[in-house]
Structures are given as structure tokens and as C-alpha cells.
């Protein structure tokens, strides 16, 4: 790409390759190693400074307190975007080879712990008659999934389970009294 116009002095052909002057390191760098800048009024793409310089500049900026302030302010104003981004990133990580390997390693190291945790959670679910347990009971022997039942019927089912449990306890108490 030949450059003509007022930015001409920034460009130089060295060994048949186009170079651009980097304002930060004051050296001519191959255009391919420069970051892409804005498109000028003449429709031509301008090239900014060289990539290592820009990378260093950004690294320094990221360590500054101002960067943290700006970042926190933006995150506070765009919570939905942050959440969506985090979700995408975590999904990507879970399905990546690295994520799978780390998960497999963790699972192998904590098999017993995980089993105990699952048993404890399952017992708690039954003990507290959780929503998930009510949905599980509704979907038992049904072609529908637990998540397909509307909230109202799940709430009614939970209330019924609570009542039945109370009655069962009552029956046990009566049996104990009679024996």
C-alpha cells in the first residue's frame, strides 16, 4: 500500500516492504506489525504504533488505579453485559480441553468428598421438601420433565407433601402411643 498525503512522512519502503514510524519507540516497523488504527477521511486505513509498544502501554495502563476505577464504573453500569460475558466465558472454559482436564483431575482427587456431598444435598432436598424435589416427584413416571411443570402446581404439590408428611408423623405418633 503506498501512502500519499499528509501522513507520507510516517511511511518508508525498506527492502521492498512498507514500514511505519512508531511514535513510542521512534523506529520504523513493518506495517504488518503495527496495530490497526482508524480509517481516515480519504477511506484509507491508518496504522497506529507497533504492537509491542501498544501492548506495553496497555499493560502499564491496566496497572494504574484509573483503569480500576473506569472498569468498576463500567461494570456497575453494565451488569447485564458483564453477566452475559461471564456466562459465555465460563461455558467456553467448561467445554475447553483445559477445563475438562482440570475438572477430571479435581473429580478424581475428590471422589469420596463429592459422593458425600451429593448424598448430603439429596437428603437435605428431601428433608426440606425443596422445589427441585417436588418437581422430581411430579415428573416421576411422567413423560414431562420436572422443569415443564408450572410453578403453581409445584407449589401445591409441595404443600400437599408437607401435609402428608405431617399426617405420617401423626400416624407414627399414634402408633407409638398405642404400642
Amino acid at each position: 500500500m503506498s501512502v500519499v498525503g499528509r501522513h507520507e512522512h510516517l511511511y518508508k519502503i525498506i527492502d521492498g516492504e512498507e514500514h511505519k514510524l512508531c511514535y513510542l519507540c521512534k523506529q520504523f516497523v513493518v506495517v504488518a506489525n503495527c496495530t490497526l488504527g482508524k480509517v481516515g477521511l480519504d477511506g484509507r486505513r491508518r496504522y497506529a504504533n507497533c504492537k509491542p509498544c501498544i501492548s506495553e502501554k496497555r499493560k502499564i495502563y491496566r496497572q494504574s488505579p484509573r483503569h480500576n476505577e473506569v472498569k468498576r464504573a463500567w461494570e456497575a453500569a453494565n451488569r447485564d453485559k458483564v453477566r452475559a460475558g461471564n456466562r459465555i466465558a465460563s461455558t467456553k472454559y467448561i467445554h475447553s480441553e483445559k477445563g475438562k482436564a482440570i475438572r477430571a483431575k479435581y473429580n478424581a482427587a475428590h471422589t469420596e468428598e463429592k459422593r458425600e456431598d451429593n448424598v448430603r444435598r439429596s437428603r437435605e432436598k428431601v428433608k426440606n421438601i425443596s422445589e427441585a424435589y417436588a418437581r422430581q416427584m411430579l415428573s416421576d413416571g411422567s413423560p414431562l420433565k420436572g422443569s415443564q411443570f408450572p410453578q403453581e402446581i409445584v407449589d401445591a404439590r409441595r404443600e400437599l407433601m408437607k401435609l402428608r408428611r405431617e399426617l405420617k408423623g401423626d400416624q407414627y405418633a399414634r402408633r407409638r402411643r398405642t404400642t
Partner: protein, 67 residues
């Protein structure tokens, strides 16, 4: 008993009455039995429509908010 929300509220009342002793265990048991049948019949209706792949509004389940 017009809808499932009313049923839930009624079951909660029965639960409280059973705990306070205002209602006998046999009576509460019968009520729980009927409530179970009502919920199961609504469930069967849902399953029927799901298998037919149609989405009609089941009046018992679709509750309109009372202001």
C-alpha cells in the same frame, strides 16, 4: 376451589389446623387424598396435551392475579 393457587392456600390452612388440633388426622388425611387427586388429574391433563403437542390453557393451572 377454582384454581391451583386456591388449592395450595387451602392445603396450607389444613396444615395449620392439623397442627393446632382444630381438625382430626382422619379428616386431614381425606382432604390430602382429594387434593392429591386434583393435582394428579391436572398433571394427567398436562401430559395428555404435551403428548398431543398442543398448548391449550388449562384453566385450573393458569391463574389470573387478583387485585
Amino acid at each position: 376451589m377454582q384454581d391451583v393457587v386456591e388449592l395450595r392456600k387451602y392445603l396450607a390452612e389444613v396444615f395449620d389446623e392439623l397442627r393446632s388440633g382444630d381438625i382430626s388426622a382422619n379428616e386431614a388425611s381425606e382432604l390430602a387424598n382429594i387434593a392429591g387427586k386434583m393435582i394428579n388429574s391436572a398433571k394427567v391433563q398436562m401430559e395428555y396435551h404435551a403428548l398431543r403437542k398442543d398448548e391449550p390453557k388449562i384453566k385450573f393451572l393458569h391463574v389470573q392475579e387478583k387485585v
